[in-house]
Amino acid sequence: MSTGRELALTEAIREAYIEEMRRDERVFLIGTSIQAPTFPHTNGLAEEFGEDRVLDTPISEPAMTGCAMGAAQEGLRPIVDYMYAGFAYYAASEAFLQVGQYHFLHGSQHPLPMVMVGTCGVGRRVGNEHSTLPYGTLIHHPGIKVCMPSTPYDAKGLMKAAIRDDNPVFFLWHTSMMMQKGPVPEEDYIIPLGSADIKRAGTDLTILASGFQVGNALKVAEKLSAEISIEVVDPRSFEPFDRETLLTSLEKTNRLVIVDEDFERGGFAAEVTAQVMEHGYDLLDAPVKRVCHPHFPVPGGYIDAYTMPTPERIEAAVRAVMGS
């Protein structure tokens, strides 16, 4: 953090790509219209690394995912870019079942190093497929690591960790943070998958939030700072999940609100709630409260701006937990 240089979130991802592709010639990118590019994180990469290392594919999600899987089995280190993470559902068998379960089912003999990348997030008025956040679905399937940064700094470090991991990693980034700037050091660094970060320290209540929702949680923490001391914990990766950091926070605050922009039903927030019940029940002074996307499809129009977790909904949840 020494230089004070600032990059946008997508520029930080791009820097991770460039550094890793220069370091390791096995790394390559594959996706739909990534050469042009569609999003800034692949800007200029085909020019530097060649069109046979930054590959535009037909609109064929199963084939691009399977291509990455096969190439990884043959010793390369692919990065598949779905554009929108919701498009990975077209390749559900490959993305959710096969890549994660290959290693285990085939006797844990052979690694499968590959990264899947997609943007997601509610609030852009683009409807369900362009918004849906698949981390709840992903963590349900064994063998896939899943992460999502809330700052450009985390984006670079998590992406470099994902590329160097010997397992499939799904790297999600939030569309609303595409050009959000923050300090990013020029040097090589890694943020290990499975290490949560305390984004703001507090003593009265813990908010667990990811991606874009970390910003909303911090807004609420700041607004209420005179009356409630809120600690904001960003898991940074959903699998592996750093439960210890959350439980340590709860030892201090004893109250938990989980903000999860994914659908409420059977999602990450539900999973964390269950884990806290099993491993930290005695730490709680109040029931856990979730602030999620309600259990209906992500709508378009003007509706999604208030169906997603907002500072208002988070504040209401915080007050409910503090009052109980």
Binding site: R53, T65, G66, M69, G70, H103, G107, H110
Partner: protein
């Protein structure tokens, strides 16, 4: 013929061994000893033997699922004992007893299987891409049936491999059936290989009951892709003279399949008998030598099953399995 005399004898020996293994697998599943299910190869194993025969250890192969790929693995000189052990759920199985029926021989560039028909196509693109990017000289032998071309994944793979001119042989063992449905109802034409022309991929059709014809076309296809001429499609017309999965129905839609026809296929179109007769006619083997090859193959298959049955069942602890998820 482009095949040497030695090729012919060894191809025949491999087919006899593969069919002996298939019979032993049938015996095991009927005795309730095989884990999972089994899809008999029967008289459809000549294409599989031809597909693997001319591959090197470094070439990548996706075995077809019929006879769960035993003919393919045998001809690629993989140690099929490990696969037998796997299918019996034993310690020492190629997937440590975790898969029932998957092949995993990474050193032989057979990376695995999937329970989904059509899952072979996307990964084959990745194998071909990796071979090309590494300039390794490897080729990909992607074996499947005609039914798998109902999966859109096959069309995506044909498209991407044609775009990138990847070294992939699309080796189709077309038996005219997809589970309990006739391909006549599932594909609007007589030859599945006609698909290839839409992608500018050259194709061949061969009699899948003729072992030596399959082997010759395999040589042609392998030479084509190894020379960097892009993908190629081979359709081996073969026969399924029994049900899809052991113990299941043997119907095409609502109609039972004709048992007399299937009996006639087994009598007249058995690739082992056809190839054996040809070798005698060519003076390459005597009847006595053929009988000896059969006896040795049966002996090998029995011994293999016996050895695997004597292994302990793979029953790892939950903790061991939990720690095996990630590399």
């Amino acid at each position: 013929m482009t095949l040497t005399n030695e090729n012919c004898i060894e191809l025949f020996r491999t087919l006899v061994r593969a069919m002996a293994l298939d019979r032993v697998m049938m015996r095991l599943i009927r005795a309730g000893k095989l884990v999972g299910f089994y899809h008999e190869g029967g008289i459809a194993l000549a294409p599989g033997v031809a597909a693997g025969f001319f591959l090197s250890k470094n070439d990548i192969m996706l075995p077809h699922y019929r006879a769960h790929g035993l003919a393919h693995m045998l001809s690629k000189r993989v140690d099929v004992k490990l696969y037998f052990a796997e299918h019996l759920g034993r310690v020492g199985g190629c997937c440590k007893g975790r898969s029932s029926y998957h092949a995993s021989f990474p050193a032989d560039h057979i990376f695995g299987s999937s329970g989904n028909i059509g899952a072979n196509f996307p990964v084959s693109v990745g194998y071909g891409f990796a071979a090309k990017r590494k300039s390794s000289g490897q080729i990909v032998m992607n074996c499947s049936g005609d039914g798998s071309y109902g999966s859109g994944r096959s069309h995506e793979a044909l498209l991407m491999s044609a775009n990138w001119q990847l070294p992939i042989v699309f080796w189709c063992e077309a038996n005219g059936m997809a589970q309990h449905s006739s391909m006549e109802k599932l594909f609007p034409g007589p030859n599945i290989s006609s698909l290839a022309s839409g992608f500018g991929i050259p194709s061949h059709i061969v009699d899948g009951q003729d072992l030596f014809a399959c082997a010759e076309i395999a040589q042609v296809a392998i030479a084509h892709v190894r020379a960097g001429k892009g993908p190629i499609f081979v359709e081996c017309k073969t026969l399924r003279a029994q049900e899809h999965s052991v113990g299941g129905v043997n119907k095409a839609g609502i109609k039972p399949r004709d048992p007399d026809l299937m009996r006639r296929w087994r009598a007249e179109r058995d690739p082992e008998r056809l190839a054996g007769a040809r070798l005698i006619q060519l003076g390459l083997l005597t009847e006595k030598e053929i009988t000896e090859i059969h006896a040795a193959a049966d002996c090998e298959a029995d011994a293999l099953a016996e050895a695997c049955e004597s292994l302990p069942k793979a029953m790892p602890s939950i903790e061991e399995l939990q720690s095996a998820v990630y590399a």
